[in-house]
């Protein structure tokens, strides 16, 4: 029980804390509101459910860094339980004789006791990891742009948060031990009893003073820390779930938002400065806990490029902290993101693989920031890697990034059957979207032929668009040229609808085409059912429409998940099932399925030189494939095929790199 004076002091302290909380939180909210658009707060019940799930499962952290994640669960679940513990502690201190009665009370105290120790162990682990072990995963390489205050700030912030948690939970633990000593033991609080043992001999007054002091320190730390939340990464504990809750809905992980080019009042395209980013992208820096899990899975960072998705969020955070009052006060922030948030080379090093989006436990979206900066660079400033100009011009004039003017049906010539166009076969059931790679790249032509051969063998009634097909615009979009993408999307939607493709199935052997037509065209009124060729082939095998050789040379095969098939669109099983059906013994690379590592071609990298780093992305991935001991590296994307084939050639061709369709075509009974 608190004395009357203490009670009055406590009420005053709560009032002061709430006042300052309101002040600092308002600033944080106003800063977020400086962003574009709105946070998504419609359909609140399912959104709250999303937030609750993110809170309890901690954004699924256990998928990576399992030991660290386990200790984090200790702290997080302990802290969630401590909301109740703190409330009960205050009530017990205010209301004479208040306690949770009976067995419920016993269990409550037992759980509090266990979680208290769990939090302290967890927090100790994190402090040791950062300050004694100096874990490498928490550092950011020198070639990455980092805010001048970030390197020291991250350590200070971590120490403050660690100190706060240790202080709050530690003093609560000590106070409970004094109480246990005062009351002569509690079998339901084994750890507090352990700590109480040495306190037993103290005079009662000392024990009482000990409890009062501990209580004030434990609760006082909370009252002091709450207004400080917007200035510490510890805000992640509620901004993280809030970030998941208020994210815009997306048809696929990395589906980009459209730009309205018809609205002539829009003067800013993409993001040049901080406030050009959307509100949800301004929640990100407040949510970031600087764990750098995104950096660890980033194909650009891990191959030595100057891109770290976490550094981007950290820079945003320190930039905001530096001028929180000015930003909250509505002052213009003219400093370009490219000067302090991320370097131009980093912006152009992104492969848009989406691994950072997928891994982030607090729902951050660094890839979208990068895409917004690319948009601003292309649409506003016209500053981008010179090689991309060739791809853009090719798309504008020739409808393909290779700048090829050849017949788009030339790939069909070596086949011993005719591949019908939609004019020749208007009653097709399946439209085979060949893609520019399939039409023009010699390696991908083989994939297109293999796909057509398999469809033909299964008796599928299919057709191709032939010379009416153009690039989907994916290359332009990922390179920031949204206007070119927009024009290409409208053109393709018109072509597709004219042949009734919206009423039929489309099959694509390129995951980029699949993603763009299947998920992104919907924003422009194009709604299509698009299957990856492995999905259709797997169905055909399942339906008994393909006769495959029981014994073929397919032995050990490792499948490389294309980013835009797997992580972005969730197709993992169809290619594996198809390979197994074709007689392959499947081996998995260390990083597979949603953890797959990019081939290095995505995000328009195919059309430019790789940014300077310490390794090539494709060779890094190829080495992983080779390490499985497989004979065949199976791919499901013409760009992965190109990148892996190049890496294979450079390594002296120790493996066979082939598309799943090629392996199935080879296994067809003659």
């Amino acid at each position: 029980m608190l004395s009357l004076v203490e009670k009055i002091l406590f009420v005053i302290a709560v009032g002061v804390s709430l006042y300052y909380t309101q002040v600092t939180f308002s600033k944080m909210i106003t800063v977020v509101q400086r962003g574009q658009g709105q946070l998504n707060l419609d359909h609140l019940p399912p959104r709250l459910w999303t937030a609750l799930r993110a809170l309890v499962n901690q954004g699924g952290i256990i998928r990576h860094r399992p030991v660290t994640s386990l200790f984090h669960y200790f702290i997080a679940w302990g802290f969630i339980y401590y909301v109740l513990v703190n409330a009960v502690d205050v009530l017990e201190a205010f209301i004479p004789g208040f306690h949770i009665p009976g067995m419920l009370g016993n269990l409550y105290r037992l759980l509090a006791d266990l979680l208290t120790v769990a939090v302290l162990i967890g927090m100790t682990y994190f402090l040791v990891r950062r300050f004694l072990v100096n874990s490498a995963v928490l550092t950011i390489r020198d070639n990455v742009t980092l805010h001048p205050k970030a390197a020291a700030g991250m350590r200070t912030d971590s120490l403050l948060v660690g100190g706060f948690i240790w202080g709050h939970v530690g003093f609560r633990f000590l106070g409970t031990a004094f109480l246990v000593a005062l009351h002569g033991g509690d079998p339901w609080q084994p750890f507090a009893s352990l700590l109480a043992a040495p306190l037993d001999g103290l005079p009662e007054t000392a024990q009482l003073i000990g409890w009062h002091t501990s209580w004030w320190l434990a609760i006082g730390l909370i009252l002091a820390f709450v207004p400080y939340f917007p200035y510490t990464k510890h805000a992640h504990l509620f901004v993280g779930p809030f970030n998941f809750m208020t994210r815009p809905p997306r048809r696929a992980l990395g589906a980009l938002d459209p730009i309205n080019f018809e609205d002539e009042s829009i003067e800013q395209f993409g993001a040049t400065t901080l406030t050009d980013l959307s509100q949800t992208q301004l929640v990100d820096p407040f949510a970031c806990i600087m764990c750098s899990r995104c950096q660890e899975v980033c194909p650009a960072y891990t191959t030595g490029k100057p891109l770290s998705p976490s550094a981007l969020e950290i820079n945003k955070r320190y930039h905001i902290w530096d001028q929180m009052a000015a930003l909250a006060g509505g002052e213009a922030d003219e400093s370009p993101l490219l000067e302090w948030a991320i370097s131009p080379s980093a912006v152009w090093a992104c492969t848009t693989c989406g691994a950072c989006l997928d891994v982030c436990p607090v729902g951050n979206k660094p890839m979208f920031d990068i895409m917004d900066i690319r948009r601003s660079q292309v649409l506003m400033a016209s500053e981008f890697p010179a090689e991309l100009k060739g791809a853009f011009t090719g798309l504008e004039r020739n409808g393909n990034p290779w700048q090829m003017t050849d017949d788009r049906l030339a790939w069909t010539k070596p086949l011993d059957f005719a591949v019908p166009t939609v004019e020749e076969n208007p009653d097709f059931e399946v439209l085979f979207w060949v893609g520019c790679a399939g039409a023009f790249d010699p390696g991908a032509q083989e994939i297109a032929r293999a796909t057509a051969t398999v469809l033909h063998a299964a008796g599928v009634n299919f057709a191709v668009l032939g010379n009416d097909e153009t690039c989907t615009g994916d290359t332009a979009r990922r390179a920031g040229n949204e206007y070119l993408f927009y024009e290409m999307a409208l053109g393709n939607i018109e072509t597709l609808n004219a042949v009734g493709a919206d009423q039929k199935k489309i099959v694509a052997s390129c995951p980029h085409c699949l993603h763009t037509i299947g998920t992104e065209y919907a924003d422009y009124g194009g709604h299509y059912t698009v299957l990856h060729h492995t999905q259709l082939i797997s169905e055909l095998i399942g339906a008994g429409r393909l006769k495959l050789n029981g014994s073929n040379q397919l032995e050990k095969v490792a499948f490389h998940d294309p980013c835009y098939l797997g992580r972005h669109n969730g197709v993992y099983d169809a290619p594996r099932l198809t390979l197994a059906q074709a007689g392959a013994t499947l081996l998995e690379m260390d990083r597979n399925r949603s953890d797959s590592f990019c081939c290095g071609a995505g995000g328009a990298q195919m059309w430019k030189e790789e940014e300077h780093g310490s390794a090539a992305v494709n060779e890094t991935r190829f080495a992983e494939g080779r390490a499985t001991g497989a004979d065949v590296l199976a791919v499901g994307c013409p760009f992965c095929a190109r990148m892996m084939t190049d890496a294979n050639t450079n390594a002296g061709s120790p493996m066979v790199v082939q598309d799943v369709a090629q392996l199935v075509a080879a296994a067809l009974q003659k």
Binding site: F261, E264, F269, V378, L379, M380, A381, S382, F384, A386, K389, F392, T393, R397, N398, Q403, T405, D406, D407, E482, Y483, G652
Partner: protein, 263 residues
């Protein structure tokens, strides 16, 4: 500096295929800005950025050539003028140069006229040179680099790319200059500039506006007529891929090139 850039709308000759003969392409194929002219525009923009002034685009063509001028405006040019008149149809390089020179005089004082070294359709390499002659201005063709320019002293020193090497030439301004692609890397217009360009007015001048007679321009004022355009005959080519490591295939390639007396 007052800079005038001559540009031309041309058929996209990259689209030439066995299915389309030359005259068809000239008449109805897809149209692009003459690629050499993009370098001319870029050089004009760079000079303006360095020395101030303005870049005016001048194009002689059919009414739809305004699209080509819009492309140039989107690259950053300040103004554009289209010379378009049915009487101009069928003009040879001299007749075209007469109209262009008259338009330049109508625009007024200038420091430099820049053009691409040639057009990919006509391929005369002559029009800009004839414009220089008609304007009685210095003529600097095949410029690969501007070594020095002094708008105040009205002098320019350029490097001309010749078959056998490079030649440094100085002259007085005003001058008419044609450029080769070594001179720069043309910029890609941003969407903002495309949108701004779309809103700009492009005045259209007729033969009468230029103060010329119908007999001086177009087919009527021309010595040269185009009666037929043929595709070059297709050549039988053999493709051979040299196997092996990079070193091995490079060595094999050198051996073969030596054997064929190519190097």
């Amino acid at each position: 500096m007052k800079i005038i850039v001559l540009i031309k709308q041309v058929p996209d000759t990259a689209q030439l295929s066995a299915n389309m003969n030359g005259l068809q392409l000239m008449a109805s194929g897809p149209r692009i800005i003459n690629p050499w002219d993009e370098y001319a525009i870029e050089e004009g923009l760079k000079l303006r950025e360095a020395h101030g002034g303005s870049v005016t685009l001048l194009c002689l063509g059919t009414p739809d050539a305004v699209e080509t001028l819009k492309r140039g405006l989107a690259m950053g040019a300040d103004e554009a003028v289209l010379i378009s008149d049915p009487q101009l149809a069928g003009g040879d390089s001299l007749a075209t140069a007469r109209a262009l020179a008259a338009a330049i005089e109508k625009i007024g004082a200038y420091d430099l006229v820049i053009a691409g070294r040639s057009s990919i359709d006509g391929g005369n390499f002559a029009t800009a040179v004839q414009v220089a002659a008609l304007l009685a201005a210095a003529q600097l063709s095949y410029v690969a680099a501007i070594k020095a320019i002094d708008p105040a002293a009205k002098t320019i020193t350029v490097e001309r790319l010749m078959e056998a090497g490079r030649e440094t030439v100085s002259s007085k301004l005003p001058a008419v200059m044609t450029v080769v692609k070594e001179i720069n890397e043309p910029r890609y217009p941003s969407f903002m500039q495309i949108r701004k360009a779309a809103k700009k007015d492009v005045p259209v001048w007729s033969v009468a506006d230029l103060g010329l007679d119908a007999g001086q321009v177009g087919a009527a004022g021309s010595q040269v007529k185009w009666s037929q355009i043929d595709l070059p005959p297709t050549r039988e080519a053999q493709v051979e891929i040299l196997e092996g490591t990079a070193e091995e295939s490079a060595k094999a390639l050198v051996d073969r090139l030596l054997a064929e007396k190519i190097i």
